[in-house]
Amino acid sequence: MRIGSRVRLLAGVLTLGLAVSACGGARVADGANSPAPSGSGSGAPAAAGTVKLAVNPWVGYEASAAVVSHLLKENLGYTVELKELSEQVSWEGFETGEVDVILENWGHDDLKKKFIEEKKVAVEAGSTGNKGVIGWYVPQWMADKHPGITDWKNLNKYADLFKTSESGGKGQLLFGDPSYVSNENAIIKNLKLNYKVVTGGSEAALIQSATQAQEQQKPLLFYFWDPHWLFNRVKLARVDLPPHTDGCDADPKKVACDYAELDLDKIVSKRFADGGGKAYELIKNFTWTNEDQNSVANDITNNGMSAEEAAKKWVDANPGTWQAWLPK
C-alpha cells in the first residue's frame, strides 16, 4: 500500500516538474546540471572555483596534469577534479561542462573541426611545449642484429620474427589502448605489409612487452610515442615508414605514411576560456620541455611516487619554470 501511493506521488511530482520546466525545451549547451563555470571570472579572483581536468590514459599526460593541478591547488587555491577519460570522450565533455581542460592534445583535427569550429564549445589554449611523435619501434638489439629492419621495405622479410600466438601467421604489431590515435590498419594495408595489429589494451601492456623484449631478447614491433620516459630505460629504434608529407594522412583510409611530428597543445572549453580567471591564465601559460615531462612521469612510474608527490618534487626543484606561468 505504501509503495503504491509513493509511486503515484513521485510520478505526479515528476510530471509536474516536467510540465513546469518544459516551456522552451532543454538544450544541452544550457549547461544546467553542471556547476557554475569555473574560475567565476572578473568579480572574485581570490575565491577559487573548480577546474575539471581530463586525464587521458598515458603517464606523460598524467605528469602534466599533476603539475598543473598542484599549482592550481597550492598557488591559486582552486579545487581540481581529475577525470580519467579517453581522448574522444574528453572532447564530448566540453559540451556538457564535464570537462574544462584537455592538457595534452595529439592532433585530432577532426575533433577540432567538430567542437571548435562547428559546435563552438571549445577553444585552443596554445602549445604545451612538448613535441609529440608517434611511431613504430623495435628494441635496439634487434636493429643491431638484423640490419635494415628499421626500414619499412624490409619489414615483410622479417615478419616471421614477429609471429605470435595472436597474430595468425603474420607478424605482430603491438598496439596500446584502443582509444589512442591510430593509422596502423591503414598503413599495413596500404603498404601491403604482412602484419596484424594486436591490441594490448593499455600503455602498461606496451611498456611491459618492451621491457621483456629487452630483457629476454624477444622480438617485438610496437606502437609507441615520444615524449616517454621509457626511452631512458630501454634502447629503442624507430622504424622508418614512408616520410610524412602534408596531407598524406588526410583520408584515414588511405594513409601510407609515417605520423607527423605534432606540436602538442591545450584545449579548453569555451565557457572556461570566457570565464577568464587565473586558472585559465595558468593553463594558457603552461609550457615545458619533453625532459621536464619525462622526469615527472619517470618518478610516477618507476620511483614509487604518487602523481602528487612527483609533481611536488618537480615544482620544488624548478621554480624558475613555473613561476613564469602564474598569472600576472
Binding site: M1, G4, V7, L10, L14, G17, L18, S21, A22, G25, A26, R27, V28, A29, N33, S34, V55, P57, W58, V59, E62, E81, K83, E84, L85, S86, E87, Q88, V89, E92, G93, E95, T96, E98, V99, D110, L111, T164, S165, E166, L174, D177, P178, S179, S182, N185, V198, T199, G200, G201, S202, E203, A204, A205, I207, Q208, S209, P252, T301, G304
Partner: protein
Amino acid sequence: MTAPAAPATVSPALSAAPAPVVVGRPGSRLPRVALPAAVTIATVATVGLYLAFRGTATLPHDDEAAPFLFLNDVRDWVDDNRNESPLFLYLVNYVRLFIGGVFDLFAGALRPVDPPLLVAAATALGWFAGGWRTALVAGLGFGAFGVLGVWEASVDTLALVLTAVLLSLLVGLPLGVWAGRVPRVRRALTPALDVMQIMPTFAYLGPMVLFFQIGPASAAVATIIYAIPPSIRITALAVQQVSPAAVEASTSLGATRWQTLLTVHLPMARNTIVLAVGQTVMMALSMVVFAALIAAPGLGSAVIRGLSRADVGVMLPAGLAIVLMGIVLDRLIMAGARRTGHPGGPGARRPHRSRSRYGTAAVAGLVFAGGAVLGLTALGGFPAAFEIRIAGPVNEAVRWMQSSWYDTTEAIKNVATEGLLNPLQTVLTTAPWWLTAATVAALAWRVSGVRRALTALGCLLAIALLGLWEHSMETLTTVVVAVALTLAAGVALGVAAARSPRFAALQRPLLDAAQTLPAFIYLLPALALFGATRFTAVFASVVYAVPPVVRLVEDGIRGVPPTVVEAALAGGSTRRQLLWKVQLPMARRAVLLAANQGIVMTLAMVVVGGLVGAGGLGFDVVSGFSQSADFGLGFAAGLATVLLGIMLDRITQGVERRPSPPQQKMRIA
C-alpha cells in the same frame, strides 16, 4: 555477494520457467538403434563437407560494411540534432536533467557530511534495521572507506548507486507487478530484458554518450539499464507465485483489483521483492567501473587509472571498497526486510538462504575492516592518519608473481592457445557459413527442439547480415574454450566442496570475492602473467564464471538423497564409482544448468577481454566506444554479442528439459 551472477537473474529463460515442462525431443521418436547411427552419419558428413569446402563461402570481415556505415550516419544525425529535434528538446534532455538532479541531490546530501558522522549514521541505520551485528558490519564497512583512503570516491559511488537503484525500483517494481499479473505484459517484456542483460555494457556506453552525453546522469542511465531487469523479473516472479487461493478469497470478498494488489499480492510477495531490491543494488555496484568511463565520479576511476598504469595497488583499495559497499548495503536491506517482514511468508526462504551465502563474505570483510579500524583507533585523527597504504606491498606481490611464475604461465598459455584456441578458431573461421549454420541448426534441433533451433539459426543469420561473421566466430571460439575450462574447474571444485565441508567453507569467501571484485582488478595480474592474448581473456572469464558453477554443482551433489548414496556404498561401489555413476548423473540437471549459466557469464566477460587482446566482437565494442569512426562497428558488435548469447542459450536450453536418465543408471550402480 553474488552480484552480477545470481543464477535466478542472469539467465532469463531458466528463471522464467519455474516448472520445466518436459517436451519430447524430436530425436526420441526415432528407434533406439537408429539414433547413434544418425548422429555418427551426421558428424561424418559435417567433417567431410568441411574438408571439401574449407575456405570457401567464408564471410571475411570488412570494416566498411553497410550496417556500420548506416549506424555511423544515425550517430551523426543525432549529434547534429541534439539541440533542434523535439525528441531531444522535450524528452531526452529532460530525462538527463532530471536524473542528473537526483544524483546532485544525493551527492549534495552526502558529500558535506563529516566522515565520522556518516559512519555513525550507517551504524545507527544498521542498528535500527537489524541489531548490533548489522550495525557492526555497516559501521566497519563505512569506516573502511576512510581507512582505505577512498572516502570521497566512495561517497560519490554511493550517491550514484542510490540514484540508479531508486530510479530502477521506481520503474522496475510497478512494471514487475504488472508483468506478474498480466502474462501478455510478461511475454512482451521478456525479450527486452534478455537483450538488456546480455548486451555488453560497453556497447551501450557509446549510445549513452550520444544521447545523454558524459557525466553522472548518463552513467546513472547506463547503470539503470543494467540493474533494472532483476528488479522487474524477480518482482514479477514473486507476484506470480502468490497463492491463487488467497487472490480468489480476496476477490470473492469483493475487493477491487487495486485492493487485491495492495492487500494480497504485495504483502505476500514482499520478501521476494526485497530480494529484487538487493539484486538491483548488486547489479548497480557492478557497473561502477564502467560508469567511470563516461565521467561518473567515484571509485571506478581509480580502477581505470590502475588499468592504464598496470598498477594493482591503485586499483585494489577501490575494488575492496566496492566489495565492502556491496556487503553493507546487502546486509542493511536484508536486515530491514527481516525486521519488518512476515516470518514464514511465501518468499521467506530466499532471503534467508542468500543471507547465509553473503554471511561468509560479510565475516571476511568484518575481520579485515575490524582489524584495520582497531589498529587505527590507537593513532587517532580520522581520516588522514587512518589511511593504510596497501599499494606498495600489493605491487611487490604482483611483481614477484610475475617474475617467478613466468615460465609456468607461459607454458599454460601456449598449451591452451595452440591446443584449443587456434585449432577451433581455424575451423570456425574457415568453414563455409552455410555449413556452420546447418551444424548449429542441427545441434539445436537435436538438443532443444525445432522452435529453438529456428531461433538459433535466425540469430546466426542475423549476425551474418550485420557483417560480423568472422569476428563472431572468433568470439565463439573464446567462449567455447572458456566454458569448457569453466566447467572442468567448476565441477572439480564443486565435487571437492560437496565432499569436504571444510574445503567448502574455505573456498566460499574466495568465490564471493571473485564474483564481486570488479573484473578489471584480476584482469591486470592476468595481463602481467599471460600478456595481451586471447588466453588472458579466457582466464578472466573462467575466474568470473566459475563461482556459480561451483555452487550449482555443489548444491546438486549435496541434493542426492543420502539413502541413495548409502545404498550404493552398501552395494560395494568405490568412492570414484559413487561419484561417476551415482552423484554426477543424479546432479545432471544442476551441472547442465551450470553450463548454461557459464555461457551467459562468459559472454559477459568477452568484451572486457577485448581490452586485453581478445580481439573479436569484444574489441569491436571497445573500439566503437573509443574511436568515433568505429561507432557503428561497435554498436553492431554489441548486437551481435546479444545474438550470439541468445543462440548459445537456445542451443543449451533444451538440455535440462530432457527427462534425465539417472533412475535407470542408478540401478546399474
